[in-house]
Symmetry: C2
């Protein structure tokens, strides 16, 4: 499965633009190519992050684990994880201390043993939903997808624990089955929804107040549909307080050169 | 997905029998329940084993990673990984030093930091093949499945590297497509074959001389079909020489309580 020349050009241009300082959510960018969540931790925490992902594959589908200190992803040759994401978050002892657009300095500070994980992102299957004529509201509105911390605990791994985070898309009731079917074809990027309707039973008190991203707009005849979200490791960082972590900012993903179809089951 | 009472009874009886000292290959035991490969390593090597599996998912599909020192698998409540496998191998500095039927003493020696990995096994999809009327020759003959080290290198992970090991089943030419289709439904247990026919191009010089298991019997009109094999981590241990490792003996698996259907894609 090879990306088209125009797709690759768009992905490379996007990464170059973020490298030069542009900040924007990446939903809809380089349509048809995989986007990824980033979490980078000191080597001492790497096993627990990988184990957490293995035990919680729906929210944490691992696409790539880089060698300690490495920053060029095999999913995008020539890329630089220190600069090619639009916005980053720096976490110290579980506290969000800074949001930055270039992680070069902090990478240097943590050198040589920062281990980077790229985790699948639901933006991948959004392309499949859009291709099937299912509206992607947050894209239509030019907003970031709304994300919520749930009351559903992930399986812990050593020192790492936390609740699952979900992304939400309002789907017309007559297209919910299609949305389940289509996203289910992409198990490596969260797959089928974890929950359809009834936000309260996920522990979400107010749909209008997401913990991450922008508020949604749910219209008459639409049902809120929830997918496991790659921001889940950030919630685990808040709960587990490792000395340091570097992540992407929610909705601001790493755009790869890999076609979505590569992850079709 | 719940196993039937008679399946569970058979699985528990098998584990109890192995615990009491019985030694036999497990192919065909507790038909319809998942079997697993074991590899247990010191905690210092655990990240590399998990990373090796993440980078080589066809030969190393991880079903469970236990906490350091733990030996009761969640795939079989009440089980004891120290005793419930028919035969074990002990590896020191990459050398096979002993084959034993009870790992209690060596577990004690390595306590408290032995980390156990359960890896999917192709015996799982054999049930699907048999149900479709595809002959499983090594079962018919009461032998162990033949396994071969190939010339195909796995993606390395830190200190861990090695060549892929495959299992081989001779399949009637008119059932090869069915065998591909059916095994492909089980991506968590090696999935579709990695290779059909032409052993030489996998680096297999002599089909009659497998590195692990028993010699095959390939009949007229049959094609040798190769699946990625969970013995691959053992080949990696030989090549990478960690100070200690405990594995199952090839073909002598851990029988779980989990139905094969749990891993249907």
């Amino acid at each position: 499965m090879i990306a088209s020349a125009s797709q690759l050009e768009e992905a490379r241009a996007a990464r170059a633009s973020y490298r030069a300082g542009e900040v924007a959510p990446t939903s809809g960018v380089a349509h048809g190519l995989v986007q990824a969540n980033l979490i980078a931790v000191p080597a001492d925490w790497a096993f627990e992050v990988l184990l957490f992902a293995q035990r919680n594959p729906k929210p944490c589908p691992v696409l790539e684990v880089l060698d300690p200190g490495a920053y060029e992803s095999t999913l995008a040759p020539g890329s630089d994880l220190r600069t090619d994401i639009p916005a980053y978050r720096i976490w110290r002892e579980g506290e969000l201390v800074e949001e930055i657009t270039d992680a070069g300095a902090v990478w240097e500070e943590q050198h040589p043993d920062l281990v980077s994980f790229l985790i699948g992102c639901s933006f991948t299957f959004e392309a499949g939903l859009a291709d099937a004529g299912i509206p992607i509201r947050h894209q239509e509105l030019g907003r970031n997808v709304p994300m919520y911390r749930t009351s559903r605990a992930c399986a812990p791994a050593g020192r790492l624990r936390g609740d699952m985070v979900v992304s939400m898309r309002p789907i017309p009731a007559d297209r919910v089955a299609d949305a389940v079917r289509i996203s289910g074809r992409y198990p490596a990027v969260h797959g089928a929804p974890v929950h359809v309707g009834d936000p309260a039973s996920l522990g979400i008190a107010d749909l209008a107040a997401p913990e991450f991203g922008d508020p949604p707009e749910v219209r008459d005849g639409e049902v809120p549909v929830f997918w496991a979200c790659g921001v889940t490791p950030q919630a685990a960082i808040m709960a587990s307080r490792p000395p340091f972590a570097l992540t992407h900012a929610p909705g601001h993903m790493f755009v790869t050169d890999v076609p979505d179809a590569e992850y079709l089951a």
